[in-house]
Symmetry: C2
Amino acid sequence: MEHTRWLDDDEQRTWRSFLAAQRLVLDRVERRLQSNAGMPQAYYEILVRLSEAPGRTLRMSVLAESAWSSRSRLSHAVARMEEAGWVVRRSCPTDRRGQLAELTDEGFEVLRNAAPDHVESVREAVFDGLTAAQQAGLREACETLVEYLSGTGQWPVTRDAGPDGPGSARAS
Amino acid sequence: MEHTRWLDDDEQRTWRSFLAAQRLVLDRVERRLQSNAGMPQAYYEILVRLSEAPGRTLRMSVLAESAWSSRSRLSHAVARMEEAGWVVRRSCPTDRRGQLAELTDEGFEVLRNAAPDHVESVREAVFDGLTAAQQAGLREACETLVEYLSGTGQWPVTRDAGPDGPGSARAS
DNA sequence: ACCAACAAGATGAGCGCTCAACAATTCCGG
DNA sequence: CCGGAATTGTTGAGCGCTCATCTTGTTGGT
């Protein structure tokens, strides 16, 4: 490759505002979650996925995909959360390489307590600042990007997790 | 606060797709930058800001704001980049608390070599996957968010850095 | 002129993440 | 049914980031 496809001014502004917005939003949400629940955003997402799964149990590999995490990251994270008593690991009966991660009652309780403030912080950081049309535009772009980027390298992705159900953590 | 403003299904999907898209895009871009230039995205952004500044020099506090970085993060980052010979620090003549960070010729060269592949990876990760309308929608939402979130806590923000000029790193 | 408040930047501990390497198991062609 | 290839999950080193804290320097009220 010797002729670089540089970004024009519009693209430059799009990319830079995406970077800035992403940082501002995530730093804000993460900071608040850290101070109110003592966990990083990535852990919260893992707990949510588990809480929505049948039996509150998922295989590590499936959990990794659905939380957009690498296997290694998930492994470290679950190890820590197991120490905290939020999750337990059991070996998978049908595949002895596999591990099942199960959300404990304590972990579920932690999630349930963390949820209201977290959701509030997301609302304040994103939805309170955007019109309905802007929210629609953001969603349209992000969903397209997810579709476009999924399954192409990067993670061991095998897209098959169902789309978002309503968070069951809020429904006791 | 005792009545939580939960996210409805549309908001839920918007938030989750934002999280996923953000992760997919940034992980991809960062991985490529790391392997081709040996630096994280945050460092690249710092080098770009310096390269665009008059005299390729900025005060630490100004640099921190313009790269959306905390002071602490910048301090650590510049320390590392100084070891690498990409940047030098000099004390500020008008305020003896201050430090000036200056991009060295070597640092500029590193940036210039890193830029083409980085830009290509951004194009592949974002622009090649979105229609013009989706790009506009994304930009509109992100610019609004940046405007909305800037200057409200979080960083020691004193918004006054000019908006993005064209990246001077690509113009020799 | 003084001193309390504030601002700039550096620093070290702790932690989450990446990357590469590894062990254990399953899969599949011959 | 055997043996190489692929898959699953873990581990440890290294690094960037956050948070709290500290030092140094500036500012503003009296």
